[in-house]
């Protein structure tokens, strides 16, 4: 069955190749496969026959038209939110020299890609205030898990304190990944008044056996952890490492966690020129504030600058590969091989496009909208932030005062407005709460519409 994606599938070419091998049928190349397991039927995949490009396009259109996008930008939060993806980022990421290339094992022919990732590492390290950021992990959740595992290896201790205010799916991922290492994942309670990590509970659980403390800020509820510095200092008193997950879009306004003393920083590039993608792909950010012990245990790829052997030119190459699985195998710091290079490059393009000016302004634009949303909600008297006096960034956990959030979300959806997730998805006791996310995409009138419709819906729901 000749196909235009398979250039040697024409009968005359096949024949010529087979002549070189002295065979008459391609089947002969499979003579070592036991006959009893050879598949004696065609695969029933696809749509019964190879499709032409116009057939597949039509079919695809029919499928994706079943997906509904809201008419005004989505207000759905929960760790990732809809942001604007600049055309420049799309243009660069569609350069085939980038997206159709492999991991740059042959550095001399991949200098451009290597330099772009090196720039990503440098930009991100500065943004988070750390010394080194690796070439990316799969996403924020696996970066968090790897950070925890790394901390346990460095400290040779097993107890990990994880803030209960962190994204529940991140916590689940940490637990799955920590299974083999036998780590003891202990949750630190939320302060019910502020929606922040409870400092006194943290103090009571921190001890000499603690390897690390994992904190997210702004946390899952959208709340900025205002005692971050104290948390880090407490952590260090017990020879434990501080791991801080933060939203890179907040760091034009808020201090980089590394500059506040965090040992390991994590995050996700979604929003930095990277679309929602129904949850993936994105790229995980993982950085460290040390270039010795943590570096030895840092998982994933790392690009470094070097010079040519002749000594006269600057160049880039993958470095410290012995930490990686293809050489060190079961001793490797992680099993990761494929990562998210393309998204990392996308994030670098985005940061370069915005510059320090743009990033600061973007942070303020989001912060301003968050503030405006809260003000408008309070005005309604029907909804309020779950934690009234806390500082929010981008996402706000909203309490509908006894009304079922599930129902509110559905009713808004039917009126073309997406919010969520309803917090009952993760916490049964918070059945009247939902997250709402605002970004640079939302004009003042979008937020006004949301609040007006919400008010209307809330009046109708008991």
């Amino acid at each position: 069955m000749p196909h235009n994606w398979i250039p040697n599938s024409s009968p005359d070419i096949k024949k010529e190749l087979m002549r070189e091998l002295g065979i008459n049928e391609i089947q002969e190349l499979f003579n070592d496969v036991p006959t009893k397991i050879i598949l004696n039927k065609g695969l029933s995949v696809g749509f019964g026959k190879p499709l032409t490009e116009y057939e597949v396009r039509r079919l695809f259109n029919e499928l994706v038209s079943k997906n509904r996008l809201s008419s005004i930008p989505s207000f759905v939060g929960g760790g990732v939110c809809q942001h604007y993806v600049p055309s420049v980022v799309k243009a660069v990421l569609s350069r085939p020299e980038f997206y159709t290339s492999y991991t740059p094992y042959q550095a001399e022919i991949a200098q451009g890609l290597l330099q772009a990732i090196f720039e990503y590492q440098s930009l991100m390290a500065n943004l988070y205030g750390v010394k080194i950021v690796n070439a990316s992990m799969y996403n924020g959740s696996t970066a968090s898990a790897e950070a925890v595992l790394m901390a346990a290896r460095v400290k040779k201790k097993k107890k990990i304190l994880v803030s209960d205010c962190a994204h529940p799916e991140i916590v689940e991922v940490i637990k799955s990944w920590a299974f083999g290492a036998g780590l003891d994942i202990v949750k630190v309670r939320m302060d019910l008044k502020s929606g922040e990590t409870d400092l006194s509970d943290l103090r009571s659980k921190l001890d000499g056996s603690t390897a690390a403390v994992f904190i997210q800020t702004p946390n899952f509820f959208g709340v900025v952890e205002s005692a971050l510095k104290e948390i880090i200092e407490e952590t260090h008193k017990f020879d434990a490492l501080s791991i801080v997950y933060s939203n890179p879009l907040s760091l034009g306004v808020f201090e980089g966690p590394g500059n506040l003393g965090a040992d390991i920083v994590v995050g996700d590039v979604q929003g930095l020129g990277i679309s929602l993608n129904y949850g993936g792909p994105s790229a995980g950010i993982l950085g460290i504030n040390d270039d010795k012990e943590l570096l030895r245990q840092l998982p994933g790829r790392l690009i470094g600058a070097t010079r040519t052997l002749s000594g006269d030119e600057l160049g880039f190459t993958m470095i410290l590969q012995t930490r990686e699985q293809h050489i060190k195998r079961e001793k490797a710091t992680s099993n990761i091989t494929t990562n998210s290079s393309l998204e990392a490059v996308g994030a670098a393009v985005y940061l370069t496009l915005l510059g320090s000016q743009g990033l600061r302004k973007l942070g303020e634009a989001i912060l301003g909208r968050t503030h405006y949303l809260i003000k408008r909600l309070l005005d309604t008297g029907l909804a309020e932030p779950l934690f009234r006096d806390s500082h929010y960034f981008r996402e706000v956990s909203i309490k509908f005062q006894g009304r079922s959030a599930d129902q509110v979300v559905k009713l808004l959806s039917s009126r073309g407005i997406s919010i969520g997730p309803a917090l009952s998805k993760f916490y049964k006791e918070l059945s009247d709460c939902s997250l709402v996310c605002v970004t640079e995409l939302h004009a003042r009138r979008d937020i006004d519409v949301l609040v007006t419709v919400l008010e209307d819906v809330l009046r109708g729901v008991q």
Partner: protein, 505 residues
Amino acid sequence: MTFRQAKWEEPVVFELSSFSRQTFLIDDDFVNEASEALKRVPKSLIRSSELKIPNLSEVEVVRHYNRLSQMSYGVDVGPVPLGSCTMKYNPKICEELASDPRVTDLHPYQDEEEVQGILEIMYLVQKWLSEITGMDECSLQPPAGAAGEFVGALIIRKYHHDRGHDNKNEMIVPEAAHGSNPASSAMAGFKVVKIPTAPNGETDIEALKSVLSDNTAGLMLTNPNTLGIFESSIIEISDLIHERDALMYYDGANLNGILGIVRPGDMGFDIVHLNLHKTFAAPHGGGGPGAGAVCVKRELVEYLPVPIVGFDGRSYKLRYDLSRTIGRVSWFYGNIVPIVKSFVYIASLGPALREVAEISVLNTNYLMSKLMRLKGISLPYGEGRWRKHEFVVSFENLLKETGVSAEDVAKALLDRGLHAPTIYFPLIVKEAHMIEVTETETKENIDRLAKAYEEIVDLAYKNPQAVKSTPTNTSVKRLDVLVANHPKTLAPTYDYLEKLKSQGV
């Protein structure tokens, strides 16, 4: 054919301009609210340290990255015969359709009713991959192949645990396996027991028998193996493992050579992971993102990571109701965009997937046959055996006779406008080149590759120094990896580089 890669002495982005220009426009509509909010935030949390990001105009940014792209090399530029990587051509229709906003702008926490289209696509991919692998159900959650392996290892662990067999803590892995196999096993808490490869290039069955015990939890195998050889005793191996109440795990990174011809499920495997960015044509993105599905036989379905997509006859749903699930290995539902690309790929080919396997194997053996005529190259293990999706040659003789190493040969290939194969892997072959041309390479290019090898080997015998001083046609000449890795000259960010420069290094 001569080749000259672009060479822009492109400064690192921090050195592009000494001016601070107007950057990408951001609105000022909420500045008042922002300053109000900032007044309340504790001072210590507000950024005071320098944001060292250059402020550039749009054209500067675009030129910078386009120049960098010109100093890179992918499948759309020329052959990338990296073994074990399946660097096939990425059809443009897959790229275009997957970038539809009705895919990329979907939020993972959107109401399921709003995303029926994407759920249906995921459901079909689960079904198709089950059919291709001979399994019963798949989860698309693992973001890459290695994460899929980790999922598989966790399933094995939990399966034995639930049956009260916590003593089953040994994972058997062949010496020649992908490095991620032992790494994933270790992450799931297994002891790793390595077994050697027999001279025929297959798993040494006697060695396997010698390590089997009540503690055996499973065997991780890839078939065809990393030498490209089909494990013809696979049924016997599966039986041996199953007799010990252990599970068979299939590393599906190497599926390309058997698509539609033989299925892991029929070989006796219980768990399979797949790299959609290899066999199913999602591009590799310079190192990622990938997508890795995990497929299992019926008795293990309840162990899959949640959610998977289900269909109740009316609508598609995210199913969280698997009773013995190992939990989540990543947030949300997987790397959807590459999954969509693979959907378009499989939909387009349908039954022609078998052609993929046939031609990739034909191409492999054709190139191998041509290379075997050259001096200094040998084919260790499995004499007289056909290879499948890839083959591994050794330049040990060339090194002994001329001092030219596998790495030198690889660099000389770059000079001829060809990407090098995977080198120094698998570890059981000295001076290895692991070559995989896939089904998407033309005969002309395979001939060019063979010719390039011939020229390089000839040159090695005449003038080894000429090979050792390659590459010269790439953007830079050979790089000093020792300087790159040396603790004193390590430069993983621009700050380190600046410091080294100021010290005159």
